[in-house]
């Protein structure tokens, strides 16, 4: 008789990772098919923005969520990515698909420049610095005539083309481009979570002194997280410029954009694998709906709804909406034990 090797039971962590991979596959499959169900161009546009913000928030989460270094100036990296790809295309004829790489690298380099003086200090210096530097970047581009200054750059339509990421007959290719990017950032987060980097980042967030005492090089770890976060943000910014066929400081470098990138992660759950996507899936359709049904743009009502929602979650579920779904939590087993203990007490 053939003896079968008894398979070792999966431990909590392996179960968590296998479940997330499965959920990730299902969500991706559903999103790939979603345009079949959502055919209205308006709602397709909402879908496009939702996956774009999901990717942006997921990228923010690498540094802000896992490592606890809050960036309030993500628009800077988004805008730099957009400008680099657009200018490369306009002045040197580099197809945007190729321009994505320099766009991401330029954004990553910018993040290293911001992080270099800040990451040796603890506290909120980085958050304040990103806020200020992003505003400087906005003003710089506003007055930089070589890249269009305040009037921006129109991206002329040449032909339907994947290399140039130009699509006019349907906006759906942009949906798949943003979806692919969001999936890549999610996968990167999934891989990083379980890597030495991910552990280092979470340790730094919990207790930097203890982290250093076990060999974590804090400065370097923060720079790596910042560069990874900005790299993905810059690439998404480059695709966005093609999506709207126009780039100017107000559309890609504004402070409001920085906040919109941050909020989905805060709402969904900072430092969690699913928080950013979950937050974007709720916030973006909600804000688009309030904007179109309740009043024209400019009323700001959508932002009031945003703010109220974030406040409610911050008070009722500080760990974010992911806290409502045990299947998405890394420490679901520990949380269950804690809940039972609380009930018994």
């Amino acid at each position: 008789m053939a003896s079968s090797e008894p398979r070792a039971p999966l431990d909590a962590e392996a179960r968590y990772r296998r479940r997330q991979a499965r959920i990730g596959g299902l969500v991706l499959a559903a999103l790939v098919l979603a345009p079949l169900a959502i055919r209205d161009p308006y709602w397709q546009n909402v879908l496009i923005l939702t996956v774009m913000y999901a990717g942006l928030a997921q990228a923010w989460n690498i540094l802000g969520g896992y490592c606890g270094q809050i960036s309030l100036g993500q628009a800077l990296f988004f805008g730099i990515g957009g400008y680099v790809a657009t200018v490369l295309d306009a002045s040197a004829g580099v197809p945007t698909l190729l321009g994505l790489v320099p766009a991401g690298i330029a954004a990553a380099l910018a993040s290293l420049l911001v992080g270099w003086p800040c990451f040796r200090m603890s506290g909120h210096y980085y958050a304040i610095a990103t806020l200020v530097v992003a505003q400087i970047g906005y003003l710089l581009f506003l007055n930089w005539d070589a890249v269009g200054g305040a009037s921006g750059i129109f991206i002329p339509y040449v032909a339907e083309s994947w290399p140039h990421l130009q699509f006019r007959s349907s906006k759906l290719p942009y949906y798949y481009a943003f979806l692919a990017l969001a999936a890549i950032v999610w996968l990167a987060s999934y891989a990083l979570e379980n890597s030495r980097w991910g552990f280092s980042w979470r340790a730094i967030k919990d207790d930097p002194i203890a982290a250093e005492s076990v060999g974590v090089r804090i400065f370097r770890a923060k720079l790596v997280a910042a560069a990874a976060s900005a790299f993905f943000t810059g690439i998404i910014g480059a695709v966005y410029a093609q999506f709207v066929a126009f780039i100017d400081p107000d559309s890609v470098l504004s402070g409001q954009l920085s906040i919109l990138i941050t909020l989905p992660a805060v709402l969904g759950g900072v430092g969690t694998l699913w928080g950013p996507a979950l937050g974007a899936a709720i916030l973006i359709p909600l804000s688009e709906a309030t904007r179109s049904y309740v009043g024209g743009s400019g009323s700001g009502l959508d932002l009031i709804v945003y703010g109220a929602l974030v406040m409610v979650v911050a008070v009722a579920k500080p760990q974010g909406l992911v806290g409502l779904v045990p299947a998405l939590q890394r420490h679901a087993a520990a949380a269950r034990v804690r809940r039972e203990a609380a009930r018994a007490a």
Binding site: E13, D206, E212, S213, V214, G215, H331, R338
Partner: protein, 245 residues
């Protein structure tokens, strides 16, 4: 000598926390560092582990001058420590805490996890592996700190009052753990207050008072040393030792 301190001095504004401290720790030794509150024991730990730089003096570890190295660099060379006030990664599980330590020498996740699990078994925390560090009892929290430090693969382990504040039973278990750690080939330098616990455990002791080394030697000699009794132990302790001896 694994660790050598040569006239290590650390000044703070208006205060000399360590004043020309010199002593050495041999490989495989358990050395106790004792002295009254404010003697400069924790400052000395911070200097050895790279969290502070000395104002003057040199620190050599395993033949290398580590005086100017930071904490992470010291950890990589094999100096691990615990903290007087426990510092764990509270939002991470016991296993994850120890894995952070294991990543110090093992870059791959699977290897770090295997090493961490071995350390958890060794330190008796295996059953608590999936609990959050914040949910542990105080003695478990101390044990977790030791486990995390041990997972870095140290040559030298600095223990800062790990046996303080424990019940006698817990303290005895702690003593057994320290002995077992030494049997793994790890040299130990420990700060401790509870004389009854620490004196039978250590091979030698160094006594600090007001930042200076006032005595160094075997436990039996230290407890009879007049300077030590006057500065730290007190007459009552001497009578108790002599009554017991």
């Amino acid at each position: 000598m694994l660790l050598e301190l040569d006239r290590v001095t650390r000044r703070f504004v208006g205060l000399v926390a360590n004043d020309a401290v010199s002593f050495a720790v041999a490989e495989g030794e358990i050395l106790g560092l004792i002295g009254p509150n404010g003697a400069g024991k924790t400052t000395l730990f911070n200097l050895i582990s790279g969290m502070l730089k000395p104002s003057s003096g040199r620190i050599r570890f395993a033949g290398e001058d580590v005086t100017e190295l930071g904490a992470a660099a010291c950890a990589r060379r094999g100096i691990a420590r615990t903290f007087q006030v426990v510092r764990n990664f509270e939002t991470m599980t016991v296993l994850e805490n120890v894995m952070v330590g294991a990543f110090n020498r093992l870059p791959a996740s699977a290897a770090a996890k295997a090493a961490a699990l071995e350390i958890l078994d060794f330190t008796g925390l295996g059953a608590r592996r999936d609990a959050l560090a914040s949910a542990l009892t105080p003695p478990e929290k101390r044990r977790l700190e030791v486990a995390r430090a041990l997972a870095t693969g140290p040559k030298l382990l600095l223990l800062d009052e790990v046996l303080t504040g424990l019940t006698p039973t817990e303290a005895q278990a702690g003593v057994e753990l320290v002995r077992a750690i030494r049997r793994r080939g790890v040299t130990i330098l420990m700060v401790e207050h509870v004389m009854e616990v620490v004196m039978p455990l250590v091979d030698r002791a160094v006594v600090l008072d007001l930042g200076r080394v006032i005595a160094e030697g075997k436990p039996a000699d230290i407890v009879r040393n007049e300077t030590v009794i006057a500065a730290y132990l007190g007459e009552r302790y001497r009578r108790r030792v002599e009554a017991g001896a």
